[in-house]
Symmetry: C2
Subunit: 167 residues, 2 copies
């Protein structure tokens, strides 16, 4: 309307970054919805699927706190999912030779099957949907997201710069 002062031009970097943040929020929401939809009839939600993923990726069974750290989730949120899945027979707790209280979380047969099926569905879904997207572009984007995470992690490790609290 009125002309008003141009204020600060806002650097290209700044605009680019804020744009990225928004896209990440949105895609995150989409992915949760997709995950919930694909796993619904298997008794899986996106939250559960993430926990099973951590277990599956690790060569050895892990306690709850380790799963949380590996996936960047809150310890108690993982605990909640594990409790629920245990009640549903998807995971089982095994004694931990190295720690009396920190039991190891392992998938049951049922859990393995559900996770395998969900992964398979997700993979097929992705292959169909992203068929003509060059994998290089996807990989490049992933690499950038990783780089951004590295920088954020570095900054939170140096609270002097930003005042971001540690988790």
């Amino acid at each position: 309307m009125a002309k008003g002062p141009p204020a600060e031009p806002k650097s290209r970097l700044r605009r680019a970054y804020v744009g990225l943040v928004i896209e990440v929020f949105r895609l995150n929401g989409d992915q949760l919805a997709v995950g919930n939809a694909l796993g619904a009839d298997l008794g899986l939600t996106s939250a559960r699927w993430q926990v099973l993923g951590a277990i599956s990726l690790s060569p050895v069974p892990l306690p709850v706190a380790h799963i949380a750290r590996n996936m960047g989730l809150a310890r108690q949120a993982v605990q909640y999912s594990v409790d629920e899945m245990r009640a549903d027979g998807l995971v089982r707790l095994e004694p931990n030779p190295h720690h009396k209280r920190a039991m190891l979380v392992a998938m049951t047969e049922k859990g393995e099957a559900a996770y395998r099926e969900a992964s398979e569905r997700h993979g097929r879904w992705a292959e169909t949907l992203m068929a003509d997207l060059p994998p290089e572009r996807i990989e490049a984007a992933s690499e950038l997201l990783r780089e951004v995470q590295r920088r954020i992690a570095r900054s939170t490790a140096t609270p002097a710069t930003t005042g971001i609290k540690e988790t």
Copy 2:
């Protein structure tokens, strides 16, 4: 342990996409933490900030349902944030000439100030942290994320393919 059959090799596309999904989840978590930290003393959380962002981006005041759709959030989650922020004096409801019940959400002076300050902090923080990242790379990543979203949206619009439910 045992050798077992090689199973399916899993295409590069598939691996790339699953990797992207994980990075998006993680970065999303980081961003929520950053947003909460940067806005804490302003009475803003990431959820609130997203709502104010929608208001700020729109040239005209919007009702709750529109804000939710614009940001890909659940209607009731936005309603919750708006109710809270109204109690805190960050937003205000204005009569909607076109709808008797759907009031328009507008920022109060206090809300404007908080949002402005939060944005400024976020911008400065991003500029410092991402200083030597080529904006082109960030923009390219955003563009890819947008493309992925377009494809997901297309697929949910065609439930025949996937069975994903509409929001």
